[in-house]
Symmetry: C2
Subunit: 224 residues, 2 copies
């Protein structure tokens, strides 16, 4: 008789994948467009969300799910920008997963929302392994982190829809080859979109807002 | 009868802790001083090691264990600086652990070494949970990542001996309160040492080199 085995890691990923599909159906049934924003600590995830909420909040009903290890500092920042914000503290866990998002969705009145932004834990590695069931995945890297980030953290770039290069205002003071970052990202994932912007000066932020609205139209979640 | 349980996470950490103690004894028995360098992607871990090897290589016999997800780009950079470099590719795993270091030590002639620097995976979360059995743990954050990093990633700062703030040359172009970073780090860990430096201009790098030699003297691993 052959021995049957259950692989624990595969099981973990499978469980996450099932819950991600449930999240996706749930969002779609309410016509909600959801975006997962990942990136290194300090790459500008919260700053970009602040600008995004300021611009879109009068046209769309938006909520933010804010993932952090311990504090609610980013949630407090975002609450000042007129949208509903839900804080998830992972107690040290290095990524958000589909189950956490599932529980977060329970806390909203989904019939009253059109967009949900998720700010993942600041980490260029682990969040890439956990599908949350959203419509788009975004990774932000800031220019001062150096031009070798895509090639050194390929998993994150492989399944991501958009790569944002932030803090371009600092480029004059850096030895960073933006062309290399873009080329490497395209080699890893030929379908990845790329935007350069500066949350500080606002340069390029309109392109990001345009991308959000275009992606929303393409995703066409069913209206409720 | 009561049910006995084995906690998988506790078991994992315990296994790591035992192997870390074995690493420590092994290093001490050869009189080798070992430093684990952690930090975000792009914080300057490799750049600092390049400067460190250039300065110390004529006085000490040094090896570097270079942790990366996938590439050997950093190892190639470091090899140009005259020390032995061993690459560990974690195949996507988000941290180094004591077992990987144990296997890495097998690959060196330990009787011929005095210092081992370990460059961990670029990640401000997971490496903090895995003791490698070294004498000192260092975390590098670069100024452009923002002044909220210690408070938002407290686990990393809690058990670390030295906090390096890199890329201070960019401070004139940033809205970053270095005083806040330092205060927060000291609240989380009153014993943490703090150094500010710029790998680009070289400012403060001598303080780091001084710290390495002082720590080496304090650690006093038994000579073989």
């Amino acid at each position: 008789m052959s021995v049957q085995k259950i692989d624990v890691m595969t099981d973990l990923t499978e469980a996450n994948e099932r819950l991600a599909q449930i999240n996706k159906s749930r969002l779609d049934s309410h016509g909600i467009f959801a975006v997962n924003i990942m990136g290194t600590p300090g790459s500008g995830k919260t700053s970009l969300l602040e600008l995004t909420l300021d611009d879109l909040k009068d046209r769309y009903k938006i909520a933010v799910i804010e993932g952090d290890l311990a504090t609610s500092l980013d949630a407090e920042r975002l609450k000042k920008h007129g949208s509903e914000v839900l804080q998830i503290n992972t107690q040290g866990m290095c990524h958000l997963d589909a189950n956490l998002i599932n529980k977060a969705l329970d806390r909203f009145d989904l019939s009253k929302l059109e967009i949900i932004f998720i700010e993942n834990i600041g980490n260029l590695v682990c969040p890439a392994f956990f599908d949350l069931g959203v419509h788009r995945n975004v990774v932000i890297v800031s220019a001062p982190e150096g031009d070798d980030k895509p090639i050194k953290y390929p998993v994150m770039f492989r399944e991501t829809d958009l790569f944002i290069i932030n803090k371009t205002d600092l480029l004059p003071y850096l030895e960073v080859d933006v062309g290399r970052m873009k080329r490497d990202a395209k080699v890893i994932n030929p379908k990845i979109g790329i935007l350069e912007l500066s949350c500080k000066t606002g340069d390029g932020v309109q392109d990001w807002l345009g991308w959000v609205e275009e992606s929303m139209a393409q995703a066409e979640p069913r209206s409720n």
